[in-house]
Amino acid sequence: MIHTRNLPFVTTLGIFVIAYALCVLQFPNMLSTRVIGNLLTDNAFLGIAAVGMTFVILSGGIDLSIGSVIAFTSVFVAVLVGSLGVHPLVAFAAVLVISTLFGSLMGAMIRYLGIPPFVVTLAGMFLARGAAYLISTESVPISHEMIDAIQGFYFRFPGGGRLTALAMLMLLVFIVGAFIAGRTRFGANVYAIGGSQQSAELMGVPVGSTTVGIYALSGFLSGLAGIAYTLYTSSGYSLATVGVELDAIAAVVIGGTLLTGGVGLVAGTFIGILIQGLIQTYIVFDGTLSSWWTKIVIGILLFVFIVLQRGIIWYSNRRLAEGRLKEI
């Protein structure tokens, strides 16, 4: 029997399988390792960022700064490596430290100043975007033998598809993310805070350090997503990835995580990313549809999922009430 807790995830998985089957019926070529490989590579940076967003939403928060942090990271790395000749590894380490600190700072403000996450991360969004503009308003190309090597590295699937380094990085992040969420005390504390911060506090959960940790993790993964994006586009551009945080939220919610927190799976977010990628791929295969159809379908899916979540909450409340009546 499926626990109601996993119902949203199972639904998402079902929708993905059905949608993929329908796509393949129309375009048999979509069932190829090539398509899957590209899908993973194209959505790698979004997937990495969405893992961080999953933790934030599981704790009942929101992080609007992700897109801006990605843009900042990519410009920062591009300028360091492309213009100043810093070694990529040094540049990567530097931006990961900066983005993690940035996330921790937001987490600390949320926790210790009691400001809602929406407001704090909105400010973070403007701040990071502004900082990106400050570094450079133009697209900065990047070229380094190490970066070329990373870009050129891949495993070949049977059937001609490529599992690129970026795709592997994303898969690794998802696997580690799933372990952190499901098998560590930190992960358990995230679910606890998302369930009820007050109860979690009374049960001895270190709410402060966990909250800071959640936003630090989201900041770190945004930085990592920024690096992935830089590798993906071979450049840094301060106007890039506007609204990526909203795509990440969409992937998390479509993946079955409750926006109110406490319920959801990192694996669900992975399916959410795949569904978004699938829609884009379908549009490419069709060739006549406007790419804005992606947004429309995502919009419809979001509505469906939010209604579904409401329905589940309503249903389980009713069942609980009925159970109580029976007891009386």
Binding site: R5, L202, G204
Partner: protein
């Protein structure tokens, strides 16, 4: 146990909030292997004492010893690690987690740094089996009944702390069978030598499970007694703070004038709501103060909610001026000329950020309908007249309500209803949490209003207050109207006798 000291001993505990004393030199002693009930009306200081013992609040005065050693828990976690665990009435566990996750949150068994779910499942099963609970520990907590959750919470608290267990109103939402299940768990824990503090307002349960009782009243210790040697009537008098003595009423002449010969214009018959208050009859005449007495949880406030349409009655009829009316909402009640000052002033009564004038004008506005706003001049005039006539201080109609003292807030709420010129005004604990001066003023006002021909229903846990102002007193117990005292019968003694009455039939 090697040492002879008590398990938990608190001496001279004092606590004040913003200069208002909540606890005054309270002593409390808990022995090993004892279930100790803590009783008192709302505001008596029970929860403050518990919060001090469990590390939520810090104490201002006094000492606290656990097994003879002085302790000062600064947080719930510290109290827990000292051995004092708490189970709160509602917010205690996380419904979005599984039973096992709830039991082991923050102390999950780990292998190679990762949570060992198999081990956690095994230990959870073993832990709950000791409480006679054989359930799927991987199911969400929310899929179980309140009673099971309560036991899971107790299991966690005992497993974490193991010396003292504090239960804050554990039975409030349980049925009789579940209560018995919970009590057998408590008795088993008592045998294991745990000290258990239980807060409840159900006297039957106190007698059923507890060994000793400590009664608080107005932040002071009334006494600690063995329940086996304490008659129920005496316990009630301890709680309501009234020595058993026959007092004669001072204004008997007055109520003779409100002869019950006149036909009552407001009548409720067979009025009730399942699970809230059993059906009752109530006639209310002009110029009459009907008191409502009973212990906390006896259905006092629920009666008020029914009369004012906040809860919908599912049986009986309401008649106003020989016309049957449906009081299905507060709006309908207001339309019939009713007014209501709720008990929880801060939560239900005032709108703190609104000005005093806005708060006063609220009910008048509601009666007029939102389409016809009251002009600011009318509002100012209204506020001005009441600030003067009720002596609300500071006399500034634009002051935000939250900055007024409790007594003045209460007067402003009264003003709100008086502005609608109601024929029936329901007051739930009108004098709680206000200073003595304002207390007397409000009582005086009640008498004046009633002399002017208004009908009042006054709910109060202060027996002296009721006997001083009420012409009739309805006594409630276990959500039933069990007695109606009239005229000379209205004495504190009689009220307590009436409250205690059901115990006798039970004991027999």
């Amino acid at each position: 146990m090697s040492d002879k000291s008590s398990l938990l001993e608190a001496r001279g505990i004092g606590k004040a909030f913003l200069g208002i004393t909540a606890l005054d030199a309270v002593d409390f002693t808990l022995e090993r292997g004892e279930i100790h009930a803590l009783l008192g009306e709302n505001g008596a200081g029970k929860s403050t004492l518990i919060k001090i013992l469990t590390g939520v609040y810090s104490r201002d005065h006094g000492t606290m010893r656990l097994e003879g050693a002085e302790v000062t828990p600064a947080s719930v976690a510290e109290a827990q690690s000292l051995g004092i665990g708490t189970v709160y009435q509602e917010v205690n566990l996380l419904e979005n987690l599984t039973v096992a996750e709830n039991l082991f949150l923050g102390r999950q068994p780990r292998r190679f740094g990762l949570i060992d779910r198999g081990e956690m499942r095994r230990r959870s099963k073993a832990l709950l089996q000791r409480y006679g609970l054989d359930i799927d520990v991987d199911a969400l907590l929310s899929s179980y009944s309140v009673a099971v959750r309560q036991i899971v919470a107790i299991a966690r608290a005992v497993d974490l702390s193991g010396k003292v267990l504090v239960l804050d109103e554990p039975t409030a939402s349980l049925d009789a069978h579940e209560v018995e299940m919970l009590f057998s768990v408590l008795r088993r824990l008592r045998e294991q030598g745990l000290g258990i503090i239980i807060i409840t307002h159900f006297l039957n349960q106190v007698y059923a499970v507890a060994d000793r009782v400590t009664v608080l009243r107005n932040g002071r210790l009334v006494g600690t007694r063995k329940l086996a040697e304490l008659p129920r009537l005496e316990l009630i008098s301890m709680m309501l703070g009234r020595e058993l003595q026959h007092i004669t009423r001072e204004h008997q002449a007055q109520e003779e004038t409100v002869a019950s010969t006149t036909e009552a214009p407001i009548r409720f018959s067979g009025y009730g709501k399942r699970g809230s208050v059993a059906p009752f009859d109530l006639d209310i005449r002009p110029g009459e103060v009907v008191g409502v007495a009973g212990l906390l949880g006896s259905g006092r406030t629920e009666t008020a909610f029914l009369l004012f349409g906040i809860d919908r009655a599912d049986s009986g009829t309401a008649t106003v001026d020989n016309r049957q009316v449906a009081i299905s909402s507060p709006e309908a009640a207001i339309a019939n000329g009713f007014g209501f000052c709720p008990e929880e002033r801060k939560a239900d009564g005032i709108i703190g950020d609104f000005s005093v004038a806005d708060n006063i004008a609220l009910a008048v506005q509601a009666r007029q309908g939102w389409a016809k706003p009251i002009s600011s001049r009318e509002k100012a005039a209204l506020a001005e007249s009441f600030l003067k006539s009720l002596d609300i201080r500071p006399a500034d109609p634009n002051r935000q309500m939250k900055f007024l003292s409790g007594g003045n807030q209460q007067k402003a709420i009264l003003a709100r209803w008086l502005a609608t010129e109601p024929r029936l005004l329901i007051l739930d604990e009108p004098t709680r949490g206000i200073d003595i001066g304002a207390h007397a003023e409000i009582l005086k006002m009640v008498e004046k209003l009633c002399a002017d021909g208004m009908s009042l229903v006054v709910i109060s846990s202060e027996l002296e207050e009721l006997t001083a102002i009420a012409h009739r007193v309805i006594v409630l117990s276990d959500r039933k109207h069990i007695a109606e005292l009239k005229g000379e019968q209205v004495t504190a003694d009689n009220i307590m006798q009436a409250i205690a009455a059901p115990a006798r039939t039970e004991a027999a």
